[in-house]
Amino acid sequence: MGNVLTIILQRLALGLLTLLIVSIVIFIAVNLLPGDFAESILGQGATPEAVASIRKDLGLDQPLVVRYFDWLGGVLRGDLGTSFAQANFASFTGTDSGATTVAQQIAPRFANTMFLAMITAMIAVPFSIFLGVLAALYRNTVFDRATNIFTLSSISSPEFFVAYILILFLAVLNPIFPSLSTIFEGMPLIERVERSMLPALTLTLVVTAHMMRMTRAAIINLLASPYIEMARLKGLSPMRVIVKHALPNALAPIINVIALNLAYLITGVVVVEVVFVYPGIGQLFVDSVQNRDIPVVQACCLIFATAFILLNLTADIMSILSNPRLRHPK
């Protein structure tokens, strides 16, 4: 078992290292901008003195390396900096709205996005495993071909196409769910779920296809094994052979693909959140990109990358744990 622990620790260290390098890449990318924040804040009427004073306030007169470690230290303490648009606004009106730091802006939206991802996962994972098992059971029938065409189509359509089709049929023509997901603090859970339903369904359609195809492929791969033959010869029903004998052995690749799809969910929310005006981190990201609110863009980027790396790491560790051959590398 000690061996496994070392491998997992190695992976974790590698993940951390990747994250560190990614943070450097993001930082450098942002600093490629011509001019700097000070000039952008002041806009057209920037006098050299004002620029110099703001530059000093924000620490922009320091060398790049010092600024990077300042930023990194802040991030580790949970301080993601001051939002550009908000700081601008606060100084303009002379009021302090109370949400000027990036962390304060991001926290509630991050919770919303996690909520959306959770609902989606709760619908998509059971649904896709169920469909995958069925498709493996009735492979090469009309059902299998129909699901194949359907999943291939929904994998390859852009998210906004799926989203608008769902809006058309489930919100406009048959008003079952609201087409805009206005969500606020203190909303009853049921209502919140109802309002998040259309974005969740859109994401479900997009990720289900991949997971279902992997489930089907993983099970079909196993069907030639001797123990499946044995189970069949014992006279078990096809459903029982697959659920009891094939599925547990196919779990490793399935868990792997689920983790990868959750990683995709975290990033795939961007477009979907914009379509449904869902107040999540993706929407914030796009707004900040359009406003060139660099500190927020930088922070969102880092959060997305962290989630992506963590979930990929989980997938990696899961597949090591579930596969004895990877546990004892030669």
Partner: protein, 398 residues
């Protein structure tokens, strides 16, 4: 919701009856005797869905305008599906009887989905190349004497104009022409980006595989880091920066976008090219070529490349889909292909609000759906073809 559940339970009873009746009528034939309950349920469910589709189609042709409007899109979808299926079938028939022996053989083993894919790609190619001849107006042309915001459908009573079957946009440009030009711009730019990504990723990947050593390590670790950032997020970050640089350098933002997406996607190509290249580099004929004293260029282009075409070609199709979708997503978010170039992603964003009028004026909602559908149709078509190619080359006959 209650009706839905009740219908499912009702179907359960019908399924049981169906199996029982089947057993009784056929004298317990093996097909019905050994039929699991789930399969019987599946047959009944499938029949119910088909019956519902036929009913909905009839509703869509109903004389009552309110009901017809409600089922308008379902009607169009069903008609479109049938027309495409027939067209694909005819195209396959054509391919089977015309052409060389080899192409005939290819078409004979082709599933309907793949022939649909090839046909669709051909149609897109024609539209993209001859957009200037096919489109009735120019993509940037603001037609004089014509109002903006003409409703699609060409029905003057609803605010349409027969000269503009899909209406005009906010500043009076013909939407149909812009859709056709969109094929040229969106598909063309995506194609160019993919080619660039392949040139970059493929060359570096083969070089890393052939030379190995520190170059391989350096490139591979750099690619690892780039791949650790989700591609759409990274593209958005870089586009933010590029949008500041573009006006200063006087280079169109679209050029930046092509380069950024090509670099991000070339990491995926690099991975594949390196993996494929490494399998080829250990072959005896490479050893022989090295002993003959051939140079690096010869090794990469004359020895490795020809043997790596099949996997790279399939990857090209998939990569094209990804690039196409990324560009569409960026344009949809407002940072991709810039106006006045006509582009499908931007059109969806600009016209998306019209979907909400679908209940009263179904034609008004068609413009954004057509633009989004045009993107979806092409990616689906490419995926169908790639799926078939992979299936064929892997020899899977399960």
């Amino acid at each position: 919701m209650i009706w839905f559940v009740a219908a499912l339970i009702g179907l359960a009873a019908v399924a049981w009856g169906f199996r029982f009746a089947g057993q009784a009528v056929t004298g317990n034939a093996p097909k019905f005797r050994d039929m699991p309950y789930g399969v019987a349920y599946g047959y009944v469910l499938g029949a119910a869905v088909l019956a519902w589709l036929v009913w909905a189609y009839m509703q869509g042709r109903s004389d009552d305008q309110a009901i017809a409007n409600k089922f308008f899109f379902l009607r169009i979808a069903i008609e479109g599906f049938i027309i495409f299926a027939i067209a694909a079938w005819l195209f396959r028939l054509l391919g089977r009887s015309v052409g060389t022996a080899r192409s005939k053989k290819l078409f004979r083993s082709m599933p309907l989905t793949a022939s649909f894919g090839i046909l669709t790609i051909l149609i897109y190619a024609i539209f993209a190349i001859f957009a200037g001849l096919i489109a009735p107006y120019g993509q940037e042309q603001i037609i004089p004497g014509v109002a903006a915001n003409i409703i699609p459908g060409g029905d003057p009573e609803l605010g349409g104009n027969p000269d503009f079957p899909l209406g005009t946009d906010q500043i009076g440009r013909d939407i149909l022409s812009r859709l056709i030009y969109g094929a040229q711009n969106t598909v063309g730019i995506a194609f160019a980006t993919t080619v660039l990504a392949f040139l970059l990723g493929g060359t570096l990947g083969f070089l890393a595989a052939t030379l190995g050593g520190w170059l391989d390590q350096l490139l591979s670790r750099a690619v690892d880091v780039l791949m650790a950032i989700p591609s759409l997020i990274f593209a958005l970050l870089l586009m933010t920066i590029a949008s500041v640089w573009a006006p200063e350098l006087g280079i169109p933002l679209t050029v930046f976008m092509v380069v950024i997406i090509a670099v991000i996607d070339s990491t995926r190509v690099y991975r594949l090219a390196r993996a494929v290249g490494q399998n080829i580099v250990v072959m005896d004929y490479i050893e022989a070529a090295k002993l003959r004293g051939e140079g690096l260029g010869y090794l990469v282009f004359k020895e490795i490349l020809p043997n790596a075409t099949a996997p790279l070609l399939a990857e090209f199709g998939l990569r094209f889909c990804f690039v196409f979708l990324t560009i569409a997503a960026l344009s949809f978010l407002g940072v991709g292909i810039q106006p006045p170039l006509a582009d499908w992603g931007t059109m969806v964003r600009d016209l998306g609000g019209f979907v909400n009028f679908a209940q009263f004026a179904p034609m008004a909602a068609t413009a954004p759906l057509l633009a989004a559908g045009a993107i979806a149709l092409l990616t689906v078509a490419v995926n169908f073809v790639v799926d078939w190619m992979l299936h064929k080359s892997s020899g899977l006959k399960e």
